[in-house]
Symmetry: C2
Subunit: 320 residues, 2 copies
């Protein structure tokens, strides 16, 4: 599909919580946090997701025209109804533009990108704004140091448009798979009907992130190689042919495992030390950082990939 | 786009709550409920959304092959992480198929249909299962009789596929618009970061549906005529050219208002008396009822439309 990410931007809250500052809150040292999670600092938002998301979106739009569709691709909702896309639209001062939300936990941005590409290819829209804005720091469980040390707040936004004539940008391939037998490896069991806020069995811990790290890691690692082969194989490509890998920033160890699958470590975008795992916002934030560093070049093969609760894997191969 | 809804089915919980039974709980008579909302009975689910949704999905799939994508297009989540599509996948016994959720409140099914059409048109998928399953009865606020009297539980599922050769099915047009200035006309302010379960300011009422009915109705009615004209006008069609109107079952008065916009009342599918407003499931449930009644004929112009919290309008015109 001849589409491109024409603009990308991010927003990080100014308030920083270092590993050394977080350590005492979760009963671990700053060194333990850095070694186990790779996260040196995380940004903590003082504003709600629609404000943070609007900041990233405004930076992506710049002085360009408004989008004709807004897709909110965030995990953390502001409230259940209306869906958070409406509040993003309001914070941006838009009215009369369609808006909806996509939820695939950490993979929401990747899924939204595949949708945006298809919707533009079909002629339903021309300029789609995807916003991922996360304020998940509120849902950290300080009794579970490993997951609490991972999460940070942030937002990323991208504009998706048809590729202009004379350019070669394209979504070359997209693949996703979900294995529900891994559904309890990463959970937030509340904020739904199963553990409704007032239900007698609902506990505060249900409204917090929980992760079974080692199992999650093994489950993902087992499936990642074949998944990648099914994406790249039909195109006659191997990991060595990828110019830039932009992964979801799941954790330091997850990012460090990528070269074992054949990727050149120098071509993997890694922002975990500065921002932690910003859930769905990690992917567009990593794109924005790569762009600022001059690492996104038109014509290059750029691979967005990641794992998410479910357990799901997703990957989008772009000719940037 | 040459796509069609190849199969559609629904599931309604066996437990029925009549207007006369609900009346005393909300301080109104059965007659008041029937007159104000048009809802005579609503079904109340004893099982959670993934079980109800899987029942509808199994009926839609029948003895056909599995889908290659599952889109959960429901409002009420089972829990925040993983997203509810994963639990639907698990309840159906599938593994390795991609799954994600779309949230546009009552319009989730219509939005998912536009995505499914575009994704199939783009060649990314061939057989997409959309499931809308709602157990919103849990979120009724019995202190607010008008909205509490509207809500019912139910599920609908549809398979979307490329149109077989020799048939003419198509998505002829899709349109959506969102006006965030109407965001407080229909709300559930909890189950997100704004009114987090344990926050001191969060009240039980925040986890319930609230509606400013008359304002919502006026706001929608003002925008509905122009919206419809922008959908049908470019195709040279008027409401009189529609063979079957399948509306979101917002309320009896909302359904009764449709003929004022030029639709033949005999061609409007109305299931509100039996099921109430089943949020995102209302649209596929209405499709399933229309099919069972022999009202969905291949080649006919079928218009799916509705309003949702946001406030949003959406419409999909199909050549069935």
């Amino acid at each position: 599909m001849r589409v491109q990410i024409s603009r990308v931007a991010m927003a990080a809250p100014p308030n920083i919580q270092t590993a050394d500052a977080l350590g005492p809150l979760i009963g671990r040292s700053g060194d333990w946090i850095r070694q186990r999670t790779g996260v040196d600092r995380r940004h903590i938002s003082a504003v709600s997701m629609e404000q943070l998301g609007a900041e990233a979106a405004r930076a992506a739009i710049g002085d360009g025209p408004p989008p004709d569709l807004l897709i909110n691709a965030s995990l953390t909702p502001l409230q259940l109804i209306p869906d958070s896309s409406v509040f993003l639209l309001g914070a941006l001062g838009y009215s009369g533009i369609p808006a909806f939300s996509v939820h695939a936990t950490c993979l929401s941005f990747a899924v939204a990108l595949s949708q945006a590409a298809a919707l533009i290819h079909a002629g339903l829209y021309r300029r789609i704004l995807i916003v991922s804005a996360e304020t998940g720091s509120l849902c950290r469980d300080f009794e579970e140091p490993e997951s609490a040390a991972l999460i940070g707040d942030g937002a990323g936004a991208a504009l998706v448009e048809a590729t202009p004539e004379g350019e070669d940008s394209a979504l070359l391939a997209f693949r996703m798979a979900t294995w529900p037998e891994g559904s309890d490896y990463a959970e937030l069991r509340g904020l739904g009907t199963r553990n409704f806020p007032e239900a007698p069995h609902t506990r505060p811990a249900d409204n917090r992130f929980h992760m079974r790290g080692p199992r999650l890691f093994r489950f993902t690692a087992q499936r990642f190689g074949p998944f990648l082969a099914e994406l790249l194989g039909p195109l006659g490509l191997s990991p060595a042919d990828i110019d830039l890998v932009v992964p979801h920033q799941a954790s330091g160890p997850a990012l460090d495992a990528l070269p074992a699958f054949g990727f050149d470590p120098a071509r993997v975008v890694n922002i975990i030390a500065e921002y932690g795992n910003c859930i769905a916002a990690s992917l567009p934030m990593a794109l924005a950082v790569a762009q600022a560093e001059g690492r996104l070049r038109r014509g290059d093969r750029v691979l967005l990939l990641g794992s998410g609760a479910g357990l799901s894997l997703a990957a989008a191969l772009l000719r940037w």
